[in-house]
Symmetry: D2
Subunit: 351 residues, 4 copies
């Protein structure tokens, strides 16, 4: 267990503070034992306004008074803070994150821009904490950029990881049913999604087919050797508020039994669990034996939204095994995942 001496909380800033993921960062960081929000930044349009005036707050926990009163800054690194959580739009995130890293910020990003850069860790602390060493190859001085994966990929990779470690995975086929919060705000029009399904999410299938290879890859001093796996994804938007479901079929590289796979998931523990990081769930993976579980409404908040729920493991006539999984897309799949990344960075002494 890692005990951080709490002389003083680490000052953090949030870039893109008014969007859905930015709001989740604020919600999850309220009362955080290690981190303290010292600045909020947003687009030029919002900069200069009080946060409460610029935001359309959509979280169900109320906005605290001190955050309400903060004046939004432009996304310029000339601000206090040691860690910058980035929830920026991807059309501006690339450059802004580099500027903050160059100015000495530890940029912990939820954006896709730098995820596949050779020197940037695509970090899921339960899976690949060693990838954090990649930052030593970065050229940002005291600063660095660390990313977390796409909102579907985090849950998927967490479920695949212990199987890959134990038996190897040859092929995985993934059909997703994704919540509307994943599209931001205003995002999906109600006329488009009530009583409906949209069988397409722009650029999503590509990420799901690509990112897990890096995440599950092995670290070799200066680079990541990608994990050799074939992934096929079919993505759908469904009328669910939060929580991405995935139906997965896969073929392992060696033989496993049903009991072994379930056991492999249920006993899985990673570095965040060993270190008891503040945002780490006790059980990162939970297999549910009830045949109609997991369900978004009932299980997305498992362990405060940081645990991944799995169910319905059974033989797949087409590949080998099939099952369903659920993870919270804006907590474990975005803001919560990034905060856990930052906690690992602190525990590794990189701050």
């Amino acid at each position: 267990m890692f005990n951080r001496k709490i002389d003083k909380k680490i000052p953090v800033v949030i870039l893109g503070a008014t969007g859905m993921v930015g709001q989740r960062f604020i919600e999850l960081l309220q009362g955080h034992p290690w981190f303290e929000i010292v600045a909020l930044a947003a687009s030029e349009r919002s900069a200069g306004k009080k946060y409460s005036q610029a935001v359309q707050w959509k979280m169900s926990t109320p906005l605290s008074l001190d955050i309400s009163e903060m004046v939004l800054l432009p996304c310029d690194p000339n601000m206090p803070g040691r860690i910058a959580f980035s929830a920026l739009d991807s059309d501006v995130a690339g450059d802004i994150e580099k500027k903050f890293a160059n100015s000495g910020f530890i940029v912990v990003s939820n954006c896709r821009n730098h995820r596949m850069d050779a020197d940037v860790p695509l970090l899921v602390p339960e899976i690949n904490p060693t990838h954090l060493n990649l930052v030593r190859t970065q050229k940002y001085g005291n600063g660095m950029i660390v990313t977390n994966p796409n909102c579907v990929v985090i849950g998927l990779a967490m479920v695949l990881h212990p199987l890959a470690a134990m038996w190897g995975i040859e092929t995985a086929h993934v059909t997703t049913m994704q919540a509307i919060s994943g599209a931001g705000y205003p995002g999906v029009a109600s006329l488009d999604i009530i009583d409906n399904i949209i069988p397409f999410i722009a650029a999503e299938e590509e990420k799901i087919e690509l990112e897990p290879k890096k995440i599950l890859g092995s670290f070799h001093k200066t680079h990541i050797e990608p994990y050799n796996i074939v992934i096929s994804a079919q993505c759908n938007r469904v009328p669910v508020m939060d929580g991405h479901m995935a139906c997965v079929s896969l073929k392992l590289k060696s033989k496993a039994t049903h009991a072994q796979i379930v056991d492999c998931w249920n006993t899985f523990q990673g570095v965040p669990q060993t270190l008891k990081l503040p945002s780490a769930p006790q059980n990162p993976l939970v297999y549910m034996h009830e045949e109609s579980h997991p369900q978004p409404k009932l299980h997305r908040m498992a362990e405060k939204g940081m645990s991944v729920s799995i169910g319905r493991l059974r033989a797949c006539p087409a590949l080998e095994w099939k099952f369903s999984l659920l993870s919270h897309n804006t907590i474990r799949g975005a803001a919560g995942g990034a905060i856990l990344n930052a906690e690992l960075i602190v525990a590794e002494g990189l701050v």
Copy 2:
């Protein structure tokens, strides 16, 4: 084209007239050029009541006055009529349908009970009209039993059929997102499905993995030789009123191009189209090029709910091809499919 001389309409009865599929039968048969409803039957509990008093009418077209006033009969074959459309609960359908066939009724059933019987056609007129000859092996005298497949399977089999005929299909993987009307009334509780997904539908995956083999099979005088295909299904209930979506991945037995597959679907015509049967859609399969189509809300009513919509054909890294399909579960997938079966039976001179 088949022109039925309209001396007189054929008298038909509906078994299980108060349920969701029973209601669809009534809606679709209003104004039918060949068939006329002469009796409605339901459970003992409802028998003796006026239809309008026994039913909770859920269709959006209003109930006609003459149907409203009909008195429900018990499910006893001692009633007028030549064709009996069956929308009974499967726990009673098996015996009742046999009794009606034995009494000389042509039983056109939507129930699962006799679907896999060796002498019962599992009929989709666009796919396997020759299977209708199986009824010559039945022992019901003037009567017979003909079934249509499960609500997901009809659309799926229609989409697979021309591919199987042209290139052969080795393997198909299907993930469904199924509408709540498929669960009957009252069916799915609102507390269970609003803002939610249920990743399980009892006994559904088994049917999807089994029924297409018979449907796509070949007729050999007295039996059906099943089509050799591996199918894997993962079924989900989603908050959509009508229209089952499926994400399909498959491996063909020989090589095809994207253009050839799309063309194969778009030019497909079956016997119902040639005969211009009253309920036959002009285009049973429609490939949509817009990448976010098909969608339940927009396309389930294509050609009055009798056409199957397909979209997003692309390479699948895990199998070979993947795409999405949509069909209306209580029209093409149930009552409308059964009515088309009855029309084929008439056109084949079996009435």
Copy 3:
């Protein structure tokens, strides 16, 4: 009954053709016996594009090929056509409609801009056909501007009118539950309305409290004498696709019985019914005796969406009577209402 000699259909254009109401106009005018769409106009941004490329078609009936191929024009009166149906945004509608009227178009508008102008009829053909005479006070030469009321007001005014005529109405209190299609597209964000209610619709309550006074008013050669009634409105947006519900309480000026009121509604017939105008419902008002009716999903399409459904009339301890009503907001409450207006204009010989 009015029989229009059909030498030739009247050429009509649609202003604001890509929005939700514009789409309804196109849907409802397909196959119209009197009118033929000869041009579609939209904002500068869309002008020059094919309609199918500029529109996100949201109707459940498919777009016809000839409309798909039409090239959108800018909103300039230099185009063919005799009647211009206006579904423009209200921030531009005011001037554009005047220009079209000045150029000789009969502008039949769904927009709010000119509704309360002293010389513009706020027309509901079942209620105030004589108000059409107001156009004789307009200064547009061959052109004119005629408007229909707000989407809630049409149904409300239709239900109030026969009561006002028979007993007089002193006060009406209206709480609405309004469908999302009323907010246009993209309109209400799904994150804002799934599992939610928004107890506010901008500028809506003002219209509901004001417009009925003019509609129910009496025509005096050159002006409308408003009807003397107090109305209070409370408006809510609810997760319903189409169909505005209203809970109404009212106080009559003289005594009526329950049976008299129901009878007054059920026997009500207006000029459109007498003339059998093509879009006129046979029964503009239908009182339903089932205590859980009317419901948006079941009854919004009553008589193709042109009839208003009423239910649950009972004593109100606070005022005098209370009941629920339902009307289709984009058909009777918008495009369908405007088309009926145009039909009355034709029948009155004003084209």
Copy 4:
């Protein structure tokens, strides 16, 4: 402030533990500082089963292990415990609650059966704590029966109470939009409520028009003198999971200003606040100035679901003032309200 000496927690039982309100009781009592669940009771059908096997757990917080393992008892007072929280079906609640009271239990009931009994308090601790004295007129020895109002009425009465105290209320008109959780489980069928509104809830309007008169009434030694107010209610079921909204119009007995009314609500404090009872919200009434607030999704959980949110106060042309209010129907409006009642009973020394 009332400080209970915590020698030992008070043993409580839950009657009707498997239903929606029963589940809320369990959820809210987990970790309660004063109360400890020692037994769960349910219908004969469930008695003898483990709770986890008998219940379909619908709360989003997971069921604790010790509750899961409890064996359900029949509803017989021969069980340990001092307080019995009743969430029974009203068709059995009447007799069972009397039996438990006769056996010495303090029955704190959410059921409607005894609410209007002359010797039973209809208790809302912020409004009428003195009504608790009515129990001295009961004939149950150490036992007693105390009830809380209907789920709509609690929020409504809390909002009316300070206005009634300050200015008096002559008339109130209430239109509700009620969540589906109010109908229990399975309750409302999804086919009935998705994309729909049901303008009727059985026996609901009667309670809303009646119960506030008793709640707001004054205690006179042995009876309650009802408050003289006219209430009219129109109830609707809407597709919202939790949280009942009401649009209220009212007429005060004397003049008030907008600022005075808002202030009257925002400064309101009752006995639970003074005593700082464990479940008491700091601010029982919160007026929100944002014109689109309150909304069920955003505000139902205000102060853990125990606070009532109000918004949009403005002049009503028909009565005098109108506004919207929101309260959580299964927390403040049911289980949470009952627990607060029990806390008051403890603080008053009646246990």
